[in-house]
């Protein structure tokens, strides 16, 4: 591999931004310059996820490193017709973080229970997010309140079904059903918007990916 160009100074005080020309195809080919660009593009995203899942910053730094290695190895699987790069990177990151938490049997402290029909806790920075993320926010608002409650606890806090059942007082089976149906509904809405395709490459409207 050719020697990488000298690294430019990082820009630690800038807000994370994920827009820009496609980078993952270049990562997939092993292009050296893509390493720095990939980190600059997605470092904030991955770090933010890692801080949420990890107990301390040291843990989060290790997780970020593992995630970028996973990303380096998985980049060739990325298909721009299925999802945005941002969503793909977040998927890779979530998998690693969930797996780390499982292995360590140490989940973040249980959160205080949000209001059942609460709106997203933070405003959505639509200008900086991908189209499929914006649509996901809209799709979420179309879910039933119970589904939203369960998914919020599962996704944000990495709570198990059992933890959610304990927190909400819902029967375990109900929690599982809400989680599954809510997520499937999310996928259907995203597919209907042409932002996700199924395993056969088909969109609900019948157009090929």
């Amino acid at each position: 591999m050719a020697k990488a160009a000298p690294e430019p100074d990082p820009t630690p005080n800038e807000k994370p931004s994920f827009d820009g020309p496609p980078i993952l195809p270049r990562v997939a080919t092993g292009e050296p310059a893509a390493i720095n660009e990939c980190y600059d593009r997605f470092g904030g995203l991955v770090w933010s996820l890692a801080r949420r899942f990890c107990a301390n910053p040291t843990d989060a730094e290790d997780a970020v490193q593992e995630i970028f290695i996973d990303l380096w190895k998985s980049a060739e699987r990325y298909d721009s017709s299925i999802a945005s790069e941002t969503t793909f990177v977040a998927m890779i990151a979530r998998r690693r973080l969930i797996d780390r938490n499982r292995r360590r049997q140490r989940r973040p402290p249980m959160p205080t229970l949000p209001e059942q029909s609460a709106a997203p806790e933070e405003s959505i920075g639509q200008a900086e997010m991908s189209e499929d993320v914006r649509l996901a926010a809209e799709a979420f608002e179309q879910l039933r309140p119970e589904q939203k409650q369960v998914l919020r606890l599962a996704i944000h806090h990495g709570c198990s079904h059992e933890q959610i059942a304990t927190t909400t007082g819902m029967p375990l089976g109900t929690v599982k059903t809400h989680a599954r149906r809510g997520l499937i509904r999310m996928r259907e809405i995203l597919r209907a918007q042409g932002k996700l395709v199924d395993e056969a490459g088909n969109r609900p409207g019948g157009d090929e990916a």
Binding site: R103, R104, A154
Partner: protein, 291 residues
């Protein structure tokens, strides 16, 4: 289920698959259990991507990583990229033939290793500690491992591998170290499950492994790691991925380290996902400490 099942799967099975996929997206693969292979064509990432998009939508990333992290991550990625480029290095099992395990006592070095892994999982403040501690514990295992003569008799293996080993043994600097079985059920040998023959000057070596279960390469593969005490202990050297074919009680694996190994302190065999990994899951089946 509002969706019409795709061809090749009935509605009830589709429900089962969807439940599995939702568990995977929210809880991780391990909680999702196993899925029959006949459904493999239906395991797309739609729910994983939906969960990821929802995560970003509900909780927009706003944190800025520490400045020092950039250098650490990009440096590691360059190592990985370089190793990948250099890796026509994947070793293959060669010259294997059956031979019965001769060890007789049951027990294991791996009680210590298991405890060690658990300790890492519970405490952590850096992967450094694990490999350093692993090396220390592994070296301690030498107390009960029989010593091996570098020029001693070899177990019966295929001629091609054996002749290569014989040539390597002619060098005075060649080390032969015993390989200890851990508690992992994939290692069915008693205490000793093989040996490592390694010559640092020539950067050549072999792993001889006995009594380790055959693997399905579609599900898992074995990976050899080398802890080089001259390097950062957090990053053991990838010694390559290999398989144990069904019916082979003993295999011989040529060691082809991805990067030069200056001072090998420990060889370890782990179980990894197909294709191997650059960050080990630390499920070890065998360890060989170098005295």
């Amino acid at each position: 289920m509002s969706q019409t099942p795709p061809a090749g799967i009935d509605e009830r099975s589709l429900d089962h698959v969807e439940e599995w996929l939702a568990d995977r997206a929210l809880l991780g693969r391990g909680d999702a259990g196993t899925m029959p292979r006949r459904f493999a064509d239906h395991l797309d990432e739609g729910l994983d991507l939906a969960a990821a998009a929802l995560d970003l939508a509900l909780f927009p990333p706003r944190e800025v990583p520490p400045a020092a992290l950039r250098a650490r991550v990009t440096a590691r990625l360059r190592e990985v990229a370089a190793a990948a480029n250099a890796a026509a290095t994947e070793p293959r099992a060669i010259g294997a033939s059956s031979t019965a395990s001769t060890a007789s006592t049951a027990s294991t070095a791996s009680t210590a290793l298991t405890a060690l892994t658990g300790g890492f999982a519970a405490s952590r403040s850096g992967s450094t500690g694990w490999w350093v501690a692993a090396a220390a514990i592994a070296i301690a295992l030498l107390a009960w491992l029989p010593s091996l003569d570098p020029r001693g008799a070899s177990p019966k293996v295929g001629e091609s591998g054996e002749s290569a080993i014989a040539a390597l043994r002619q060098h005075a600097s060649t080390k032969v170290v015993a390989c200890a079985c851990t508690d992992d059920p994939l290692c069915r040998a008693d205490k000793v499950c093989g040996e490592v023959i390694w010559n640092a000057e020539r950067q050549e070596g072999f792993l001889r492994l006995r009594g380790v279960a055959a693997n399905d390469p579609r599900e898992l593969q074995y990976q050899l790691w080398i802890v080089d005490s001259s390097r950062d202990a957090r990053y053991p050297v990838d010694g390559g991925v290999f398989d144990v074919p069904a019916g082979e009680e003993e295999i011989l694996v040529p060691i082809k380290a991805a990067v030069p190994v200056r001072d090998a302190a420990l060889f370890a065999v782990s179980v990894e996902k197909p294709g191997g990994t650059v960050v080990s899951e630390r499920r070890f089946v065998a360890v060989a400490p170098v005295s």
